[in-house]
Structures are given as C-alpha cells and as structure tokens.
C-alpha cells in the first residue's frame, strides 16, 4: 500500500494554463501508453515473477510510475 508524502519528486512550477499542453499531459497521465497504465501493468506482472529481484524491481518501478499522478 501507499502513503502520500507532502513533497514532489521533481520541483515543478505551474506557470500558466495551456490547453494544448494539458492534452499531452492528460494522455501521459491516463492514456493507453500512460504512466498509470504502466504502473498497473508492472504491479500486476510482479505476481507471476519467479525470482525476488524481479518481484522487487516491478514493485518499485510500478510504484515510481505512479509519481506523476501524485503531482496533482
């Protein structure tokens, strides 16, 4: 399970609104090849992994893929 930590992974400044950019970002967040899809894929694939290294790395990169979602 996960805890929210009151910090960003990377210092991002929101400067202005931009609908074109928002569309790209939305695709990155939630689209078919998005961070969210990748996160869920890794976190599901880990259950079939035969060795500890693979279980660990899929758990941790799956978690890391959730980071951009937490920018919000």
């Amino acid at each position: 399970m996960w805890y929210y930590v009151k910090k960003l992974q990377y210092p991002a400044n929101v400067a202005r609104t931009d609908l074109g950019m928002a569309k790209y970002l939305f695709a990155q967040y939630g689209g078919p090849d998005s961070e969210l899809s990748a996160a869920i894929r890794y976190l599901t694939q880990r259950y079939t992994m035969p060795i500890p290294q693979a279980k660990a790395v899929l758990t941790d990169i799956g978690t890391e893929e959730l980071v951009p979602i937490c920018y919000q």
């Binding site: 805890y3 790395v57 920018y71």
Partner: protein, 84 residues
C-alpha cells in the same frame, strides 16, 4: 508563510530521496553489490535525519507523523503550491 530556509531543506530532501530511490532500484537487481548498498544506507540515513529536521520545524510530511495541536498536516503550502 513558507520561508527560503524551508524551501532549501525541502529541495535537499527531494534530491536525497531521489538518490535513495535510484540506489534502491539498482539494488533490486544487484542485491550483492556492497558499494551500492553502502551508498544506499548512507543516503537513507541522511534522508531520515533531514526529514526529522524538516518535520520538527515546518510540520508533517506524512500523515503518520506526530503533530502538535491543531493537526498540522493539513497546513499550506501543499507541494504543488510552492514556487521552487
């Protein structure tokens, strides 16, 4: 009011935590690398120290941190409201 000191400490925590995560990912697939593990442990220790220092001065970073009254976790600024 979010001070320059608070921001500097937060940025240091962000940088150190990034290194800890990178080393942890490396160790996931290289668990027998002594040098990497030593670096990981040193940065993990540093992260704990910096977080304790930050939380004591500027309030909780996580919801299970001990808080004064009233509950400090909800205080502004939230991470996306800060000018880095």
């Amino acid at each position: 009011m979010y001070s320059k000191d608070a921001l500097e400490l937060l940025k240091e925590i962000m940088a150190v935590d990034f290194v800890v995560y990178e080393l942890a990912l490396f160790l996931d697939t290289h668990p027998n690398d002594r040098r990497a593990l030593e670096d990981h442990n040193n940065f993990a220790r540093k992260s704990h120290q910096l977080r304790a220092m930050y939380e004591e001065k500027y309030g909780p970073l996580v919801l299970d941190s001990v808080s004064g009254f009233p509950y400090q976790y909800i205080n502004d600024p939230w991470p996306w409201e800060i000018r880095y």
